[in-house]
Amino acid sequence: MEGFHNEGNEEEYPKLVHWPNWEVPVPGKEAIIGFFVTLAISLVLHGFVLWLSSLFRQT
């Protein structure tokens, strides 16, 4: 029963990969949206630091 997944049953959680012994779930819609929003904010913050640093480097 290793790697059991309840195919066809809507109640079973979906898996990202169907390799034996792996249990990586598919992230829900809420998680995916939040992931990209958080990533975007992180990139903006990093860009802000790069911009500030370039201000001080300018001669």
């Binding site: 290793e2 059991f4 959680y13 249990e23 809420e30 992931f35 992180s42 640093s53 201000l55 480097r57």
Partner: protein, 503 residues
């Protein structure tokens, strides 16, 4: 001379009266373990944000970043900045901690691997928290010492801070802590940015900085050759994945929200808020090079000295209130998380009959022992950056087993023990035998112990019997079923059991 006047002292007194009121009010609401450890899981997004921010932001955060950027330039901010690109993944991960329905991180290890790993984690968790509290006491003590111009010595600073947070945690539990986080969080944000205009003006702006400091390009590069390079950044980022999941207070940071979304948003927002403050701490540290001269004062004293030298009367008092608030709530978080590990994952192993009243009393007595060990450690660290590196190496030793068990059914308790011992031996050998020390040795050391832990965990798991299927089914269904759908969880567990019996 001691620079505190009546205004500073009044601010400190008002602040403490407010904190005491919140603590005493909160104490009345504690009815059981869930209330004490997770605040009854009733916090919304706003409270969770401030809690995650406050729990991850101590005086040593500002002191450490300013010390490193004062020493290395802006690249020193990576000491806090590395978590920036991990944060999106934590948004996804936060739900797992809530769905595990555990009170402590030790419960999580026990749920996945059985009681022996629960005990191992409890022991490691206590050691980890001693390290975190010791580091926080070191940072706060150095800051108080600098703020008072050395009149309040490092030793006395630590004793004063300790008295405040022990008293606070004993009366309030996590409810008091979370409300304290809100106030402390707001103060920390204000104080982080308040210094910027003062020091900017003091050094004469961009032009003044460039005139006073010859190596501007080098100081404002996010890479420092030989110290903090690309390999350092990648290794430290990967290391954080193994570190954050194994921190004892992570269960309350990620699971005390009233809904799954509250946990996700609260935890990610709290971490992002800390990154915003990190920008301020980092630039303050670099600008201090023009103000004091590079290497002229102790790195750990930079932040406190700037507050003392640049901010108007009354702000030193506000900063001291801010530090005390930070240490009080973070110290309380560590005490709450550590006492939970002690009672739930160690004490219950040796007592058949559960007695919540006795456990609460035992956890409070244990807290005092824990605090004494943290004070001893605070005196043994050289400086904040070396303390941070020590904690970065210590926590992931047990974090490897977390990731193996989270996604891979074949990971078992023997593999988890092997991963811990292999990573620990590799760390000790790398540090003491091959002398992989400081920033230059850090990425090699991280690569060494993470590789050793992962390889040992996989190999030993494959060579030994798997965990019982029923236990694995329960674990994976539990962490993939949202809280509130317990009927569905039980139904699925029964279904799996029936299928197993037929086969």
């Amino acid at each position: 001379m001691l620079l505190l006047n009546w205004l500073d002292l009044s601010i400190i007194a008002i602040y403490f009266a407010m904190m005491l009121g919140i603590g005493l009010y909160s104490a009345r609401k504690i009815k059981g373990m869930d209330d004490y450890y997770l605040g009854g899981r009733r916090f919304g997004k706003w409270l969770m944000t401030m809690y995650a921010f406050g729990a991850g932001t101590h005086a040593d955060s500002a002191v450490g970043v300013a010390a490193q950027t004062y020493k290395l330039g802006i690249s020193g901010m990576w000491y806090q900045w590395i978590l920036l690109f991990n944060t999106p993944f934590y948004f996804v991960l936060a739900a797992v901690f809530r769905r595990a329905r555990c009170l402590t991180t030790g419960d999580f290890y026990e749920l996945r691997y059985g009681s022996s790993l629960g005990i191992l984690y409890a022991c490691m968790g206590v050691i980890i928290n001693i390290g975190f509290l010791g580091m926080m006491l070191l940072g706060s003590g150095r800051l108080l010492e600098a703020l008072t111009g050395g009149q309040l010595s490092f030793a006395w600073s630590i004793l004063l801070i300790t008295g405040a947070f022990v008293f606070y945690s004993l009366i309030g539990g996590l409810v008091a802590t979370v409300w304290n986080e809100v106030i402390q969080g707001a103060l920390t944000i204000v104080m982080s940015f308040l210094l910027i205009p003062f020091i900017y003006k003091a050094v004469g702006g961009v032009g003044g900085f460039q005139a006073k400091v010859p190596n501007v390009d080098e100081l404002f590069s996010l890479i420092t050759p030989g110290e903090i390079g690309l390999f350092w950044i990648v290794a430290a980022t990967v290391n954080q994945f193994f570190s954050i999941v194994a921190q004892p207070h992570i269960m309350s940071s990620m699971a005390a929200g009233s809904t799954e979304l509250d946990n996700r948003v609260g935890f990610a927002s709290g971490l992002l808020l800390k990154r915003v403050c990190t920008i301020a701490w980092a630039f303050v540290g670099v600008l201090a090079i023009a103000y004091y001269g590079q290497g002229k004062i102790l790195g750990d004293h930079v932040f406190g000295s700037l507050v003392r030298d640049l901010l108007p009367v009354g702000f030193a008092g506000l900063m001291i209130a801010c530090i005390m608030a930070s240490v009080m709530d973070n110290g309380a978080v560590f005490i709450v998380a550590t006492s939970a590990l002690f009672t739930r994952n160690l004490m219950r192993r040796f007592r058949e009959k559960q007695d919540e009243g006795l456990e609460l009393l035992a956890s409070r007595i244990f807290s005092l022992v824990f605090v004494a060990a943290s004070i001893a450690l605070a005196f043994s660290f050289d400086d904040i950056p070396s303390a941070i590196r020590f904690m970065w190496n210590l926590v992931p030793l047990i974090g490897v087993a977390f990731w193996l068990g989270l996604w891979w059914r074949r990971a078992n308790r023997y593999g988890a023990w092997a991963s811990f011992f292999a990573a620990a031996i590799a760390w000790i050998a790398g540090f003491y035998v091959w002398e992989l020390k400081g920033d230059s040795g850090l990425p090699y050391l991280i690569t060494l112990y993470l590789t050793a832990g992962l390889v040992a965990g996989v190999l030993v798991s494959l060579l030994t019997p798997a965990e019982p299927k029923a236990a694995l089914d329960r674990f994976y269904l539990t962490i993939n079923t949202p809280v509130g759908q317990e009927d569905k969880l039980e139904r699925l567990l029964k279904l799996r059991q029936q299928v197993a019996e037929v086969i």
